[in-house]
Structure formats: C-alpha cells, structure tokens
C-alpha cells in the first residue's frame, strides 16, 4: 500500500520542515524512517473504511471564555527573551528582495 521511502522523499520533507540535511544524514534518515514506515504498514494495510477517525480521546468541544479584557504579559518581558527586537517588535532578517 505505502511506497518505500526514497532519498528524494526525505529531502522533500526536510525542506518542508525547514531542516537541512547533509548527504550522510540523508542516507541515515532514509534508512531509519523507511524502517519505521515499514513497521507502520501493519496499519496502512488494514481495511478500515467504516471506522470513524479519532483525533482526540474524549472529543473536543469548542471552549470559549467570557469576552472580558484581561491583562496580557508585559511586552518588554517577552521581547527581552527574543533573539532580536526593535521598536517594540520582534526583528527578523529581510523577508523579500532588496528595496528598489
């Protein structure tokens, strides 16, 4: 049912997960993840068309609180733990190309 995991599959999920892998790591993870998925074939192969999936043990209800304004954590305290902050905000490297 499930296709065997290929090296390029691992390279693709690593990219999706924002991880970069060396060639050696790609080999290692391809083999290890392949073994785990092979083990998981015991459930991938089951016929479960009539079974309802469970995402949560007791079923989740939407929980809402009273719409009351409460104190938030102090902005300065949170920014103090950030790798970089500027003008009361988190600072990051550029997200697009250079400005014209």
């Amino acid at each position: 049912m499930a296709s065997p995991l290929r090296r390029e599959d691992v390279a693709k999920v690593a990219k999706l997960a924002r991880l970069s892998l060396s060639d050696d790591e790609l080999d290692m993870f391809t083999e290890q993840l392949g073994q785990i998925l092979e083990h998981a074939n015991d459930i991938a192969a089951l016929q479960l068309n009539d079974v309802v999936p469970t995402a949560h043990p007791f079923g989740l209800l939407n929980v809402v609180r009273e719409d009351v304004i409460e104190a938030s954590l102090p902005r300065e305290e949170l920014l103090a733990m950030a790798p970089d902050a500027e003008d009361g905000r988190f600072a990051v490297p550029r997200i697009m190309g250079e400005a014209p």
Partner: protein, 472 residues
C-alpha cells in the same frame, strides 16, 4: 529520607522546617548530580527563599498547604517563571519563561518548594534520556544504565532521594517507563485531568502531566494538588480534582482485574514473573482475575509513531528563531528558520518532525495519519469492551529492566519498542500507574495497572495493595 506526606505534616506542625528540608534536598543533589546528571538547572537561592517563605507562613500560624515544605523536581518542559526551561533542547538554551505552568502554580499554592529542572529527552522524544542536549542521565541503581525516558531526570531524582516528589509528562509512557526502570511510582492520569497550560507541547492529543514518588500515597497526594479544571487548557476536564487519599486503603476485594496478554507479551522472564506475582497478590486481596486479550494493542506502536510525530511536526513549527530561543543568522527569514532549526534540534527530534511531516503530506495522509486515527478509534473501543469485563487491567510497564547506554540509540525502532505496553493507554486517553514490583538483581521492575477514564481512585487503591504486600 522522609516521605512527602511526613515532611508536609512535620512542617505544618513545626517539627521540621521547610528550610531544613530544602537544604537536605539540595545537599543530596550536590552529592550525586555530577555523576548522575539528574538536574539540568538548579536554583538554590530561589529554593531556599521559597522554603523560608513557607516557614514564615507556619510561624504566622498560616497553613502553607498539603505539600508544605516538600521539595519537588520539575521536568524541564514545565514552565516556571524566570527559571531556565529548555525541554532538553539546544533550541531553548537560556530561555526563561515569562509565566508559570498551572501545575507549578498549584504546587506553590500547596506549599511545595521547587528545587530545579530535571533532564529529559529533547522535547520528550525518547525512552532513555539519551536524547538530551545536556547529556544523558544515569540510572541511580546502576549508573552504567539508562533511567528510561523521556522523564528520566524526574524518575532518577526521586529514586536517588534528591526530592521525594517530581513532576513529569507522559505522551507514550514517558512517566511510567522511567518510573519502572528507576523503581519508583509513576502515574499517567486521565487525559484532561491535569492542566497542560505551561507544558511545552509534544503531541497535544496525548500529552499528560503526572507525578513521580517513592510510594503510592505520595503520588496520590501530588496528583490531588495538580488535578482539576483549568480554564487556560481547553482540553481540561470540567470537574474538580478527584479525592484519592481518602480511599487509598480501600483494597480491591470484589474488583475484577483483567490480565491482558498483549500488555506483557514479549517481555523478559523476570518482568513476566513480576506480573505473575502481582496477579497473585491482587487475587489474595480478594480481586477476581479475568484473562483478556486486546489484539488492538499490537497496532498501538504504529499508530502512535504516526500520530505523535504528526502532532509534533505542527507543535514544533513554532521554533523558528523569531520570538524566543536560538537564532542562527542568515540573509533572509527562510534561511534563518532553516539554519536555526538545523542547529537547534537533535537527530531524534528531526526524525520525528520529518516522519510527521511525511505522514501528513499529500498522497500519504490517508495511508498513514488517517489510518492511525482510525486505529485509535478501534483502540478506544477495544479498551471500552475490556472495561465491561474488568474494573482494571494488569500488565507490564516495560519489556525489560533498565538497558545499557548506547544499546538502542542506533536503531530507533528498537528504542520505540520500550514503550509498547504504555502507548495504548495514551491513545485511549485513560489513566495508568506503574508500581515497583520485584527486581532482577539490583535493577527494579515495574508492573502497570490500567483503568478507564477517571478511575484514578481505584488504580491508587490497587497500587497500594501491591505496595503493602511488597513491604510486608
């Protein structure tokens, strides 16, 4: 070392001071932490200041609460305001949370004295504490062996008598398995019984915080304090904390105990002998034994290692170098995210993030994650049927006693099999407790008692029967 209940009683009536107990605990940490690597962060000054505060409460005639002056170890994925909280990961090195977990607030309100943060597998992913960025913890019973994991530090803190109580988290066995390997009591409560607010998330539909203790009564004492509804956790059960201590000596007379074949098959002979002895003890105490088979348990490992990584891949997306923790600079944001995560996460965390990303990806979602969710339904139904025939279940906690360092690190699947008997409970959302029962040489063995949701009182009573027999 006195029990937590004795310390609290003595502090409350002035027979000992919280300060003396904190100093005793800190001295025990200093004596063996270098060897065992149990605590990754200890704040002596804060612990002593906290102990003095408790003593002042007593001297003013106030009652500090049921954990008055009791030193408690916290797993390093539990936020305590201003204290290093790193989840065993490089990516959170140096991070101090701006708020405390609900469980931390509750133990403080009950008079406890947090001593420090205990070592763990990175983001609670592992069964040996070998996956910690801060180095492995050693088993106090045999330092050449692992303490189990992922809450290995918390189990070892209690086993080495550094603290009488510790808190851990259990996603697939991370409290019960190290409890078994370290010879202490460990409890995974009903999903939703204990607030997870302030617990660094691994797999949110499975994670649950619970106690470690050297005896069943102390574990019940701590669980009573931390349980109960919390509006800050949307998965929190609506009811107040259950009463556990009141009925702890109620025994098991007339109760039906199911012996589940799949919750011990493949275990080592010494482990099987311990389960057999526990069965005899419960029977002598008046329980009726029922032989049961829950074949769905055999599918638990596969379902778990798709569901938990899938949830983890989502939960750990927040570690991107923007708001907290490590940042590795790069020319643009995407490159910064990737460089940060690549350096900040260890191999096991990367393995699980990629496994989860794969299981959720287009083309594989139905075959893997979707199937796993359906197996979870079958697991829940199977346990429900088992609980029609039995009030509680008995099995092994772990397939073997504590193993040697490096024995399973090169083969992730072999490591995952350490949790084969504990995982089904997390998938079902039910409570379970591991009780030390028997030994193989110097190494402790744990047996596992399982019950339906909200059956903690019965589980503690049954665990107490085993404990009383063991010490008589």
């Amino acid at each position: 070392m006195s029990s937590a209940a004795e310390i609290a009683a003595d502090v409350r009536r002035g027979a000992t001071s919280a300060l003396a107990e904190a100093e005793r605990s800190l001295a025990a940490v200093r004596a063996r932490n270098e060897e065992l690597n149990v605590f990754v962060h200890v704040d002596e000054e804060r612990a002593l200041a906290r102990a003095r505060h408790v003593d002042e409460q007593v001297s003013r005639g106030e009652d500090p609460g049921p954990l008055a002056g009791v030193p408690v170890a916290l797993k390093d994925n539990l936020c305590q305001v201003g204290e290093l909280t790193t989840a065993g990961s490089r990516i959170l090195e140096g991070w101090r949370p701006p708020y405390s977990a609900t469980v931390v607030k509750r133990i403080l309100n009950a008079g406890a004295v947090p001593v420090g943060k205990t070592n763990m597998d990175e983001f609670a992913m592992g069964s040996s504490t070998e996956n910690s960025y801060y180095g492995p913890t050693r088993n106090p019973h045999d330092p050449s062996r692992v303490p189990g994991g992922s809450s290995g530090g918390s189990a070892a803190a209690v086993a080495a008598h550094m603290t009488p109580l510790a808190l851990g988290s259990d996603t697939g066995g991370s409290i019960r398995q190290p409890a078994a390997l370290c010879g202490v009591v460990g409890v995974k409560p009903t999903y939703g019984l204990v607030s997870r607010f302030g617990l660094i998330a691994f797999a949110s539909s499975l994670d649950q915080i619970g106690p470690f203790a050297n005896n069943v009564t102390d574990a019940a004492l701590l669980l009573e304090v931390i349980a109960g509804h919390d509006a800050r956790d949307s998965t929190s059960l609506p009811e107040a904390a259950p009463s556990l201590l009141a009925g702890i000596n109620a025994g098991v007379a007339g109760k039906r105990v199911g012996i589940v074949r799949e919750l011990m098959e493949g275990a080592d002979d010494e482990v099987l002998a311990a389960v057999e002895k526990a069965r005899a003890t419960l029977q002598e105490a008046g329980a009726t034994m029922v032989e049961l088979s829950i074949p769905e348990c055999r599918l638990g490992l596969s379902a778990y290692y798709l569901i938990a990584p899938a949830e983890a891949s989502s939960n750990l997306a927040r570690f991107d170098g923007v708001r907290y923790g490590l940042r590795v600079d790069a020319d643009d944001v995407a490159a910064m995210n990737e460089a940060t995560r690549t350096l900040g996460f260890g191999a096991e965390v990367k393995r699980r993030i990629m496994l989860g990303t794969y299981a959720l990806s287009a083309g594989y979602y139905d075959a893997y994650y979707g199937q796993a969710l359906k197996v979870r339904t079958q697991m829940i139904d199977a346990f429900r049927r088992a609980y029609d025939q039995a009030d509680l279940l008995l099995g092994a906690t772990a397939p073997s006693v504590a193993f040697k360092f490096g024995e399973k690190t090169s083969n992730p699947l072999a490591m995952y099999l350490s949790d084969v008997f504990t995982i089904p409970t997390n998938l079902a959302g039910d409570p379970a407790i591991s009780v030390p029962y028997g030994r193989d040489g110097d190494l402790p063995i744990g047996v596992q008692l399982l019950g339906p949701g909200r059956s903690e009182a019965l589980l503690f009573a049954a665990a107490r029967v085993l404990e009383v027999e063991r010490s008589s």
